[in-house]
């Protein structure tokens, strides 16, 4: 009882949810909202917001910024959610095995997570994406490959502390197989902190995607918020909206996701001190 009430009790969480739902709606409805694609040239370049038919102005090439912003939301959300899902899959699986069995598997995993903590993962990500050729898939795979240790660490900790509990011993006494104990007994109890980490990772994955595409390492066939900013760097001095608006969109989305993550954290760990 009370999960929803606790979750919805903070105004920041409500704000986060509202903004997030709005962005999801814009992302899904982009093709319905606009009759033309984000790459269509609609008029003169660098028209300010409020020009006829251009609520957000036009960019360096005379494309409608509003359409670009709406389609950019699709890329950001897709990359954020897909890469987090992949990272969570790898992280939970490895973290569960390491935490449940301990021993050398655990040692190996901990060394690996330490390794990923020490090395500059953004530079590694640049290498990965550049070598695999920039595309939506390589962005998602790359982000998942450098972020899974975060999930693994949390999952491992939970499994380590839960594996000795009575309900696990009971399951073992009943003759349950390890895989069943891991997935049906421990995992549901280990989920809350994993969900919190995951919700925070979606936001940081969106930031990482924007950084990659800002550097020209995004999918060249898709317009994302990061590539909009990267593409209008030369115009920044004369047309502020070309860089300010996509950045605000990123910030608002990530802020909303972090607020939701905070709300989940409060609701799922009611005893946790803030």
């Amino acid at each position: 009882m009370g999960f929803m009430r606790r979750f919805l009790s903070r105004p920041t969480t409500l704000f986060g949810l509202a903004v997030f739902l709005l962005i999801v709606a814009i992302a899904l409805g982009a093709p319905l909202l606009f009759s033309r694609g984000p790459f269509t040239i609609v008029g003169m370049p660098l028209l300010p917001p409020g020009a006829p038919g251009l609520p957000a102005g036009s960019d360096v090439l005379g494309r409608d910024m509003a359409v670009g912003l709406a389609y950019g939301a699709r890329i950001s959300l897709l990359v954020g959610i897909a890469s987090t899902a992949c990272a969570a899959g790898i992280g939970v699986l490895l973290g569960a095995v390491a935490g449940y069995y301990g021993g050398w598997v655990d040692d190996l995993l901990m060394r690996m997570t330490e390794f990923f903590q020490i090395i500059p993962s953004f530079v590694l990500l640049m290498v990965l994406v550049a070598f695999l050729q920039p595309s939506l898939e390589t962005t998602v795979i790359g982000i998942a490959l450098v972020t899974w240790p975060q999930v693994a660490r949390v999952a491992r900790g939970e499994f380590l502390s839960l594996r000795g509990r009575e309900f696990v011993q009971a399951a073992r006494t009943l003759g349950m197989r390890d895989s069943r104990i891991i997935f049906t007994q421990i995992l549901p109890n280990a989920l809350p902190p994993i969900i919190v980490v995951g919700s925070m990772m979606v936001g940081s994955a969106i930031l990482t995607e924007s950084a990659l595409s800002f550097l020209g390492l995004g999918d060249p066939n898709l317009l994302s918020w990061g590539s909009m900013i990267g593409g209008s760097r030369s115009a920044m001095w004369v047309a502020w909206w070309t860089t300010v608006l996509p950045g605000l969109a990123i910030m608002l989305t990530v802020l909303a996701l972090n607020f939701i993550g905070d709300g989940l954290n409060d609701a799922l760990n009611p005893r946790g001190k803030r």
């Binding site: 800002f214 900013i229 950045g247 972090n258």
Partner: protein, 324 residues
């Protein structure tokens, strides 16, 4: 464990991570479609079978993977990171030429982040729940949600384009040819925008960490003893609480180094700071894979060494720490 064997263990760990970085790099090269020979042939503009074969023989690409791996490791160990496709120079030389600028910027950012963060954290800890506390929480949330490169662009827009206070680009004024102190001042002025941009993200974390540590330490017995002795509150805060609260910052600085380098790549690009970050961007746009990989290896090793240094500093600053 004695401190010496602790440092020894950390050294071993540093070496192992370095070896792992080199191993990883070796396999990363194999991710890219085609091998060195196809790339070279592509750049030469022709590729007949005999030429490719001679290229493969020249670079040892026709040997078994283990032999190639060994060759690669021994080359990297001798500081040979290959040569840049585009610049026709050894990768290491190209990187080392840019490295001082990156170290300068990152060092400055780290100092700003720690100084600003500690100041904010101390103020917030004085009265938990105060306006300062709330402002800090909001600020850190906002900074965490902003792309760092965008924050830099906004700072440039504000302070260079609109207000005209600070130079927007580069390391120093082009063509001014300052020397001595004037040059130092010129570089310092150019460093403010990129440095503070880079620092702001971490400042919020340092502030939070200092705040938590201050509140935690303030609860411990030795602080009560200090108060019971009749020391004034300011003295207790400075000499007893703050000093101990600063210790976790050392470890944190080590852990953050990798993120700092990643941020530096972006911020350098925004401000055209001639460091390793802009070099990485040039490597990406010119498809100079050996250079990009070299940058990964060099930055990874540097971060690793910095971690070693913070680990050692931590063991000296806090003798209670369980060395293991």
């Amino acid at each position: 464990m004695s401190r010496l064997s602790y440092i020894g263990a950390r050294l071993v760990k540093t070496v192992l991570v370095t070896v792992a970085v080199v191993l990883l790099s070796f396999f990363l090269v194999r991710l890219a479609p085609g091998d060195t020979a196809t790339v070279m042939a592509g750049q030469a503009g022709f590729s007949d079978e005999a030429f490719m074969k001679s290229l493969r023989a020249e670079y040892g690409l026709d040997q078994p993977v283990t032999a190639q791996l060994w060759k690669y490791i021994s080359a990297v160990a001798q500081g040979d990171l290959g040569s840049s496709f585009v610049r026709r120079q050894p990768v290491l030389d190209v990187i080392l030429e840019r490295l001082p600028n990156t170290l300068l910027l990152n060092g400055f950012a780290l100092l700003v982040a720690i100084a600003g963060g500690v100041a904010m954290g101390v103020m917030a800890a004085r009265r938990p729940g105060s306006a300062m506390d709330a402002a800090m929480t909001v600020l850190s949330m906002v900074f965490y949600a902003m792309p760092q490169f965008w924050l830099g662009m906004m700072a440039m827009l504000m302070f260079s384009v609109w207000l005209g206070w600070l130079p927007p680009f580069g390391l120093e004024t082009m063509g001014a040819d300052y020397t001595g102190l004037a040059r130092f001042g010129d570089i310092a002025v150019h460093m403010i925008l990129p440095g503070v941009t880079l620092a702001l993200y971490f400042m919020a974390s340092y502030a939070r960490l200092t705040r938590t540590a201050m509140i935690e330490v303030a609860d411990q017995d030795f602080v009560k003893t200090a108060r019971a002795k009749g020391l004034r509150e300011g003295q207790v805060a400075r000499r007893h609480i703050l000093r101990n609260a600063l210790i976790p910052l050392i470890t944190f600085a080590g852990l953050q180094a990798a993120i700092l380098v990643g941020g530096s790549v972006l911020v350098e690009n925004v401000f055209s700071w001639p460091g390793v970050g802009t070099l990485a961007y040039e490597a990406v746009t010119t498809r100079d894979n050996p250079l990009l990989l070299g940058i990964f290896i060099v930055t990874a090793i540097l971060v690793c060494l910095f971690n070693l240094a913070t680990d050692i500093a931590y063991s000296i600053a806090d003798p209670r720490v369980e060395l293991g």
